[in-house]
């Protein structure tokens, strides 16, 4: 199916947003990353499957907006030892698709591969990410990011950086 020029433009905008988010995470630009979120943002990394009920079952991360802010404040103390020294990170994000677009919110998905180098050793993390991006002003804000780790049913090493 051919994309309309509007759809192409939306996909390009979404892709650029996702790339920027990835770079801010890789480079520990905590405040700039936090500013990507809407006031009702939810940051979710499920455990033991991709479709668990986060209100009933444990997730690796299930942060509402105030908990996202707390996470950032914890980094800024300089005593978040699992990130002091910080992990060195580079991630590739690809297979970006727009799943739906109602003019106000875009649901998008991508695959991500993150290489982490940490005191413990080097770890490769792979995930399917789903985003809800809300049009605000002349750009997007992130209302939801769900990171479905390929190995989320297994025991995982600490993942204290922003995934």
């Amino acid at each position: 199916m051919t994309m309309t020029p509007e759809q192409r433009a939306a996909l390009e905008d979404v892709t650029q947003f996702i790339y920027r988010e990835a770079r801010l995470q890789d480079e520990h630009q905590y405040d700039d990353w936090e500013s990507l979120w809407t006031d009702d943002g939810v940051y979710w990394v499920p455990a033991n499957g991709d479709d668990i009920d986060p209100e009933q079952k444990m997730s690796i991360l299930y942060d509402n907006r105030s908990r996202i802010a707390l996470r950032i404040r914890q980094y800024h103390t300089g005593k978040r030892f699992s990130q002091t020294p910080q992990s060195r990170l580079r991630r590739l994000v690809s297979n970006v698709e727009i799943l739906s677009d109602d003019g106000q919110e875009v649901r998008a998905a991508a695959n991500a591969l993150v290489f982490e180098s940490q005191t413990r050793g080097d770890t490769l993390w792979a995930s399917r990410n789903e985003y809800v991006l809300r049009r605000q002003g002349d750009g997007f804000r992130m209302a939801s990011k769900k990171v479905m780790l390929v190995n989320n049913q297994k025991a995982l090493y600490s993942m204290a950086f922003l995934i």
Binding site: E55, M58, R73, G121, A155
Partner: protein, 427 residues
């Protein structure tokens, strides 16, 4: 950051006597790094003593099963059609294949995919294909391996691979009172484990985790980052001025008894960082179940912070199950405690647990960092020893005869090592 070189694991001198490695206030670094010592621990501790496996509420219905472990070995915890709990080794007695590959489910039997042998969920061999090839064979000898002894206390299921030994009650001893107190936090007197486990792996020896659970010295430093930015009320419990105490119950069980601080605050649910008006349904049910006076005592004292040797840590709002995989790899399985009849409390239990523990937790990611750096440290030499002398001069017996000390003292570590030594020396 420079790449950290891998330091080879060097075995200690052959067959050291435990006296040479474990002194009253020092332990030798090789206890955490020597693969030969780890192998001995499997036989003397993990495959002998009572090890926590799971909770009855994880297999609520007839024929439910869930995959669990005893040390590095997977075991299947099943509930048979009569309601009895079994712990089965996940290994076909024919060729050693795994008979169960799913984490949990409901099944009356398990069929090995290799040659079709089928076992009932109590372990008995029900049958094999083409049976004429087994003429004269006694099927009763070809069931799944069973953990020799299975026992539970208030829903907490333990297994021991030794045919004989102390009973579960003898092993738990005073830790039973802590489990009782935990259950009393429910208006119906029961704990449930229903929220699923986070599995957090660390490159560290299992004993660093056991010792850390009741080390009241580290929170002020390792967790300073979250105490600074969240109004948690936990930090002061572990200050030098805290009136909380550390306690050695014997048998390797240790605790941080936080009740003196909570009693000083004298505010119900302060232990949970909240107040009664935030949880009116729960408070109402507690008052109805226990009467206002006792309910108030329960809600002031809070839940225990106890490390039940060797692998069950009850940490106020969650449980951790410690599973060694090798001498320097360990998994902590952690989930929120859920109290029967307390949905409003349980919701907060889950939220707080998700925030604080697991691979990204505000607390546990930093604990894990300490385990891993300590593991790297003890692979190096000079000094070869770790010093456990904190508070030795001021430890004393409480009215029940248990050794206690300040909350930041190393009474628990010394108690764990005393018990460890007795287990390793046992024939």
């Amino acid at each position: 950051m420079e790449h950290c070189p891998t330091i080879p694991i060097v075995p200690a001198a052959p067959a050291p006597s435990w006296d040479q490695l474990i002194r009253p206030d020092h332990v030798h670094g090789s206890l955490y790094t020597d693969p030969a010592i780890y192998q001995q621990e499997l036989g003397k501790i993990w495959f002998r003593t009572w090890v926590y496996v799971g909770h009855e509420s994880e297999v609520p219905k007839a024929n439910d099963y869930v995959m669990k472990s005893i040390g590095p070995e997977p075991v299947i915890m099943t509930r048979d059609k009569s309601g009895a709990i079994h712990l089965l080794h996940n290994r076909c007695p024919h060729r050693g294949n795994r008979v169960c590959m799913t984490e949990q489910g409901n099944a009356r039997s398990f069929t090995c995919p290799y040659h079709g042998w089928t076992f009932s969920n109590d372990g008995d061999l029900k049958g094999y294909p083409f049976p004429s090839g087994y003429e004269g064979v006694d099927r009763r000898e070809l069931g799944l391996g069973r953990v020799a002894r299975v026992a539970s206390y208030r829903g907490f299921v333990f297994g021991s691979m030794a045919e004989e030994g102390p009973s579960l009650e003898e092993h738990l001893g005073p830790a039973m009172r802590a489990i009782d107190a935990l259950c009393e936090t429910s208006p119906e007197g029961e704990v449930e484990i229903t929220a699923g486990f986070l599995k957090h792996q660390v490159k560290a020896n299992w004993k660093f985790l056991v010792e850390n659970e009741t080390d009241g010295y580290h929170p002020s430093f390792v967790h300073a980052s979250i105490f600074e930015v969240a109004q948690s009320g936990i930090g002061s419990l572990y200050s030098a001025e805290s009136t909380a105490v550390s306690r050695d119950f014997g048998n390797g069980h240790t605790e941080n008894d936080l009740r003196p601080e909570f009693r000083k605050r004298d505010v119900p649910l302060s232990w949970f960082g909240t107040t009664a008006d935030k949880l009116p349904d729960y408070v109402g049910k507690m008052n109805a179940a226990y009467g206002e006076e006792k309910a108030r005592t329960i809600m002031i004292d809070g839940t225990p912070h106890i490390m039940i040797f060797p692998n069950l840590f009850i940490a106020e709002i969650q449980i951790f199950v410690i599973q060694p995989l090798s001498v320097n790899e360990t998994v902590q399985h952690v989930t929120a405690l859920q109290f029967k009849g307390a949905p409003d409390l349980n919701r907060r239990m889950r939220q707080q647990t998700m925030g604080s523990v697991g691979p990204a937790g505000f607390l546990l990611a930093d604990d894990a960092e300490m385990y891993e750096r300590t593991q790297m440290g003890v692979q190096m030499r000079n000094p070869e020893w770790l010093y456990l002398g904190r508070g030795k001069h001021r430890e004393h017996r409480d009215e029940d005869g248990f050794l206690i000390g300040d909350n930041t003292d190393e009474v628990p570590s010394r108690g764990i090592w005393r018990h460890y030594k007795s287990m390793m020396e046992a024939a």
